[in-house]
């Protein structure tokens, strides 16, 4: 499971960075989305990977039987914030497309 997660984070982040560096604004927004998926998975994995473990402790002493709830809370926050920011970026992207007449990130073809 660790290997699959690590590879998927790596592939997502790598593709994201490549797209982020492309000149078209649509590629940039997709790149940013991919990076944020990679980051969300990364945060989640920082609590340690556990199968079939509940994140809520109900009085039993052995903490190792439970998943760490904090990264799950963090990732939820990060997803919400990332989603809002992507939506906002999309609006600015459309505004830039409308005003400059091109989808190049610098507003002009080179």
């Amino acid at each position: 499971m660790e290997a699959i997660l690590a590879i998927s984070i790596g592939v997502l982040a790598g593709s994201g960075v490549w797209l982020l560096l492309r000149p078209r604004s649509f590629q940039v927004i997709i790149g940013l989305s991919l990076i944020s998926y990679a980051v969300n998975l990364f945060i989640f994995s920082m609590g340690g990977l556990k199968t079939d473990a509940a994140p809520i402790v109900d009085g039993i002493a052995d903490a190792s039987a439970y998943a760490d709830p904090v990264p799950q809370a963090l990732v939820l926050t990060a997803i919400v914030i990332g989603f809002a920011m992507t939506a906002l970026f999309l609006v600015v992207l459309l505004a830039a497309r409308g005003l400059t007449g091109t989808d190049h990130v610098d507003g002009q073809e080179r």
């Binding site: 982020l20 604004s25 940039v28 940013l32 990076i35 944020s36 980051v39 990364f42 945060i43 920082m46 609590g47 904090v70 990264p71 963090l74 926050t77 990060a78 914030i81 990332g82 809002a84 920011m85 992507t86 906002l88 970026f89 600015v92 992207l93 505004a95 830039a96 005003l99 400059t100 990130v105 610098d106 507003g107």
Partner: protein, 533 residues
């Protein structure tokens, strides 16, 4: 009543702008005047709260006031910490906010929708970032202030702003990802996000995880350095700041200082004296020096006043970063004084830049169009203007520009000089006057660069001043209303007060720096038994 209010004073700078922002969203943009009044009242209240906070935390020496949200015990719940540094930054934010709002009364607040609500939310994010004692909470407040700043950046619209805004947002979204990676790495190694708990646990990190932790801290540091504008991570800053509308740019002057603030706080808290060796100290010093050099060249090469001011922001950031890299209480005290003085002066410069260039740029036409689109129910209030062709306007602008330039360049007699003097003095005498220690090459380079950057700023400002005030007079006197002149005078007046009261101000900065360099107070107050609910 007063007692219970004082117990909650640490959260007021966050709650107050949040409520004001929410109320302002609900009011339609047609009611400019109502929104303006609410905005100003909320900001004045914030100023009062910030002053009370400052008095409160200095009640008999540095005196933290902690605020546990939901009364959860410290390492588990979110905690707000008001200490002398945070209180100072909150006060600085409130002062800039008030002057910016007053400046926007004349015309800018009508140049787009939701200016006031975004402005209040920006204040909420700034104050939250200054007051929080928790890394993830810091991320949330950063996002709040960034989200508001994206909106404000685009305020007034226009192709230049949209283009600069696109870059600004893309850079900051990528940086936020770095922030999250850093935070989660640190959590993965230490198992905590509370800053005080983190400082407590760092020495206990096992040797094999040490590298992972340092990688996390370095990635986190990069996220803040992008915001602070360290070279080469600062490419976005001059364009963005120069493109933003003047009141927004004036408020942005403190946004790069948020990055500086976090770097200062975390590097002293987590890697300060008594803790393990600081992995990034040298980087801060060299990065700061490179930033000063880059900013200096930029200042000399820029034509527009706003762009010049933006490069001055870089010089100021570089100076502060290099000073933080010294890890010396005396140097930090000078840097804190410089931070306050340069933020006030830069903010003032952004406001002045528009006033003096008014009528010379095509910007005015664009603005006129947007104003028409958004402000149709109100007659443009021009009756309060100082005069049409009286030299009084020009003279006042000229004097204000001169004073502002003197503060930024660090020339006598204003606070900029005292700040640079304090910093250079402390860099050359790290052990205090009299003790003779060898001065490293880096220190000499830094001192030389500080002086050269001041000289460059003087030359650039002189050139701009001559171009603006001494050219043949072709009848285009900038029309300046009293509301626009007041904030400029307020900011400059504060610089003068800072100069006159340099003794007490430096005393405060020294006490704060001493306190910052001994993080045990901070950690003890949070993890110990003390602290208000």
């Amino acid at each position: 009543m007063m007692e219970s209010l004082f117990a909650h004073i640490a959260i007021l700078p966050i709650v107050l702008p949040m409520l004001a922002g929410i109320v302002l969203v609900l009011i339609e943009d047609r009611h400019h005047r109502t929104k303006l009044v609410i905005d100003i009242v909320a900001t004045v209240l914030l100023l009062v709260v910030a002053l009370a906070l400052l008095v409160n935390v200095n009640n008999g020496g540095p005196n933290l006031s902690t605020y546990r949200l939901g009364d959860w015990p410290v390492p588990f719940g979110i905690v707000l910490v008001a200490d002398p540094l945070a209180a100072l930054m909150v006060l600085l934010t409130a002062i800039l906010a008030l002057s910016t709002i007053v400046f926007s009364v004349a015309r800018w607040h009508r140049a787009g929708s939701h200016f006031h609500s975004l402005f209040q939310l920006l204040l909420m994010g700034l104050n939250g970032a200054f007051l929080t004692g928790d890394l993830f909470n810091l991320f949330v407040f950063f996002e709040v202030l960034l989200a508001a700043s994206y909106g404000l950046m685009l305020h007034g619209s226009g192709t230049v702003r949209i283009k600069a805004g696109l870059h600004y947002i893309a850079v900051n979204l990528a940086t936020s990802s770095l922030f999250l990676i850093g935070v989660s790495l640190i959590y993965g190694v230490t198992g905590t996000l509370n800053m005080a708990d983190l400082a407590h646990r760092i020495p206990l990190i096992p040797e094999e995880s040490r590298m992972l932790f340092e990688a996390g801290a370095a990635i986190l540091g990069i996220a803040f350095l992008v915001k602070a504008g360290m070279w080469p991570l600062s490419f976005w800053l001059p364009t963005t700041y120069a493109a933003a509308s003047p009141p927004v740019a004036a408020m942005f002057a403190i946004m790069s200082k948020v990055g500086i603030y976090v770097v200062l706080r975390l590097s002293l808290l987590l890697f300060g004296e008594g803790a393990a060796a600081h992995p990034g100290e040298q980087w801060l010093l060299y990065g700061g020096i490179a930033t000063i050099a880059f900013g200096t060249v930029g200042v000399l090469s820029s034509q527009a006043t706003a762009r010049m001011a933006a490069f001055c922001v870089l010089v100021s950031s570089g100076t502060l970063l290099a000073m933080i890299g010294y890890e010396n209480a005396g140097v930090t005290a000078g840097a804190l004084y410089y931070l306050v003085s340069s933020t006030l002066a830069l903010s003032c410069m952004f406001l002045l830049a528009e006033l003096v260039e008014r009528g010379r740029s095509s910007e005015a036409d664009v603005l006129a169009v947007t104003l028409e689109a958004f402000g149709d129910d109100e007659e443009p209030a021009h009756d309060e203007e100082i005069g049409i062709a009286t030299p009084l306007t020009l003279a006042m602008l000229g004097i204000a520009f001169l004073c502002c330039a003197l503060v930024i360049a660090g020339m006598p007699p204003f606070s900029g000089f005292i700040a640079k003097f304090a910093m250079i003095g402390a860099v050359l005498n790290p052990q205090g006057l009299g003790a003779s220690v060898g001065i490293s090459i880096t220190s000499w380079v830094l001192v030389a660069l500080l002086i050269i950057s001041g000289l460059a700023a003087t030359i650039a400002m002189l050139r701009a001043g001559i171009n603006i005030f001494w050219v043949t007079f072709d009848g285009e006197v900038p029309r300046v209303s009293i509301a626009e002149m007041l904030p400029v005078l307020l900011l400059l007046g504060l610089c003068v007060i800072l100069t006159v009261l340099a003794g007490p101000a430096m005393g405060y900065m020294q006490a704060t720096a001493q306190y910052l360099h001994v993080p045990t107070d901070y950690v003890g107050a949070l993890l110990g038994e003390g602290g208000m609910p």
